[in-house]
Amino acid sequence: MSAPPVGAVGREHPRLEGRDKVTGAARYAVEYPVENVTYGWAVPAAATRGRILRVDAAPALALPGVLDVLHHGNAPRLTPGVDADLFLLQEPAVHYRGQFVAVVVAETIEAAREAARLVRIDYDTEPHTTVLSEHHPGLYRPNKVNPSYPTDTEDGDFDGGFAAAEVRVDATYRTPAYHNNPMEPHATTARWRDGRLLVHDSNQGSTPVQATLAELFALPREAVRVVAEHVGGGFGSKGYAKAAVVLAALAARQVDRPVRLALTRQQLFGPIGYRAPTIQRVRLGADADGRIAAVCHDAISQTSTLTEFAEQAAVYTRSMYAGRHRRTTHRVVRLDVPTPFWMRAPGECPGAYALESAMDELATACGIDPVELRIRNDPAVDPEQGLPFTSRNLVACLRDGARRFGWADRDPTPGVRRDGRWLVGTGVAGASYPARARAAAAAATAAPDGTFEVRINATDIGTGARTALWQVAADALDVPVDRVAIRVGDSDLPAAGVAGGSMGTASWSWAVIRACEGLRDRLRQAPGGAVPADGLTVEVSTADEVRAQRPLPRYAYGAHFCEVRVDADTGEVRVPRLLGVFAAGRVVNPTTARSQLIGGMTMGMSMALHEEGLLDERYGDWVNHDLAMYHVSVCADVERIEAYWLPEEDPELNPAGVKGIGEIGIVGTAAAITNAVHHATGVRVRDLPVRLDKLLERPPTR
């Protein structure tokens, strides 16, 4: 590992708010004490596609304690054209089952919930289509894929290169809908006072939520304040304003009292977004030594009739492995479903499952060790841009992981290792995730007593971002951490982007460092170095600096290794060991970094083995919409998870030298698991998750 840290950065530190969280002192969005508060309850549409003919609120309003029922016929008006998914309670149209079509407001949460049941809504329904298929006639080519990547890319002659290849893999992989399921649901406390809106909201970025609310309610931004001091996870689903905050604000305006509104667990399955199901065909053509000549990744996914969201599943393949002839494509179809959205590593996560599985199939086809195959196909320059990577340590991750895991001398033969009832196998996969940064503002204030306060509207969604920024600030100020206070999670603070895209710490620390540097300059210039009685503040923005960044390929890398055991009689899968090695620039806080990496790996294992939204096409929604039926991995599923990182210095990143670690842990994990399942059983599961029935009923396909 690297040399011991000189300052705060690089040192282990527990979360600053850890004690508040475990003792319950930390307040979440609907936990703030508010006088005269009321409770909102969202009513989901019981139709899949059609129009509301009539809303009869009378039975609901007759219930004691019920104040109002908002619907498209009486709700305050929103600005059209801001966001079709957030244009709630404005029109009678129903675009998907579960769309929020009314809100009940009552004096108690129980009354609100009961009244929601009593709102009678008649619909004029139309036939719907909710199932993704590669044969759907509505498939089309979007103009871009999330967030703004080209839809298709082509370089060389894939068809010719593939036809001429000595070894060919042509496989189609399917992933189901995955649901983000943060512990804290989307939840908001909203109040209006003198034309100003204050919301305590659970989100991943209150600056963009503030902007969206201002647009929706036709207010100047300064008239909207969004506080998100503590957030119980989001996994991407809170990366943008969602229904809860809009409904709460509408309801609070209507009843002219504060409103608390939290979605139920069931309501999180759809209306707040989900990872789109995908169908991905990957073709790899290689020579007998496994050197890839041709690679093609065709990804299909779904979007809604409201907003186009195209999961960028094939983008991963553009820069990951070598190959002269390359092609990637994306197609989507508009279905009568909620709009899919970000979920931890959108694009890379499902895409890596497909490509890293195909790599394993190629290794088997060529008779080459899958670690060695990846090393042989490590490109010298980015195959997409033709430019050198700012740093690329995939091979180092693979080698270090193989050593730590004990990969050497692995027998590649599938389905031959048995330990009692267990079939035993091992698997590997690579991983990469872009290292990006966005502009942010930050302020640093020196007080006469020698302490400092650093302010930035970063959001700590449970990751430890607050603590990391505090460490960065202390070093940038060159003072001990105990002289520094950090404030985040309030749109009154200097504006910053979302906790998403693994660019939170990169973006925010950049602004924090510049603000602290600026403050130190000012202090040096101050007469006698004295701080005025009212303090000294410097506020900066990194907009110009970030914009001036050279467009180079910047990526974090990783390698996952795992052992799986499959019960020969029942098909049950257990993971005795999951090990990841990552190269992600500097690590600010090893304590929270390890949590992020292990959390991502766990979620990837969960994706591989358990999670699956089960759609009932007759209704058009997911029937297993709670955590008893939608299984997320538990501790007992995995005995040992280890995350390591390599020392990595990359001067082309950002002042803190970080690449972001929120998502790299989930990329590739699922493929490592399914590759190990194949090694254990000889069964290649190409449609996630690896449920036990798929191993019980299917004959081995080697």
Partner: protein, 330 residues
Amino acid sequence: MRAFRYHRPADVAEAVALLDADPEAAYLGGGTNLVDLMKLGVQRPGLLVDVTGLPLDTVEPGPDGGLRIGATVRNSDLAAHPLVRRDYPVLARALLDAASGQLRNMATTAGNLLQRTRCAYFQDTAKACNKREPGTGCAALHGQNRELAILGWSERCVATHPSDLAVALVALDAVVEVREPGGPRDVPLAELHRTPGDHPERETTLPRGALITAVRVPPLPFARRSTYLKVRDRAAFAFAVGSVAAALDLDGDVVRDVRLAYGAVAHQPWRAYRAEELLRGRPFTAELAAQAADAELAAARPLRHNGFKVPLIRNITVRALTGLAGSVRP
């Protein structure tokens, strides 16, 4: 959720009288299932009669061996009881494989037996369910039915009973002590749960107002060689997709007696009488265990998504019995 009244009765007689008098009343045990269903609007009692304060919370050895388990004994306490662990490992295993530690600390013995199906359609008031709302249809029959029944279902309902404990108890010939408005009565557990037939809304043979006060487990010395195998989609905190409770009594190689019951296959814990019959009196082999399972499963009618349960149940039958036989034979 509906506003409800709450009452803690002084004794069993008062509890039964309250239920008898009020058609909207329901008993409240640990609340681990009922409270969820109340939030979802699936159950809407107007009065909750909390029986957890009644003196029904002890486990006592029977006069001739066996156990008498009070209705409100918590699942975690029952699983930890020395007599249960020594004499009925199948019971302890079934309890510990269920739910989570927190839930087991709350859930009661009788509440466990009377818990409702976890069929997704039953739990969603926006979907058709004859059990929840008679006459509306069964959305599960042609829906997402991977977890649901392969035995004993009807066109009206394909739900499964979710309990692990009940599967172990039915294998042990447990008897339920019931207090009805007319007085006490014993009901063999095998006769407590109904098949759905035309009336899936009627889940048990108990009359309205009946309160389970205890569960008697008869003496069964060979139950010391018993086990419960539960297969689930993740390693903990999940309902079974298939399970087997088994006890085996061998005389040399020959099966002197055997108990077998299956979980997650039917609207009731499924006692495998045909399989037991086939096993009794024959020299035990793995093949015989497989034949016995096949005999029991001959009546299986898998739904679209749960055909795998047939080989799964067969495999775990063989594993459970061969394990008990003490030797794995080819």
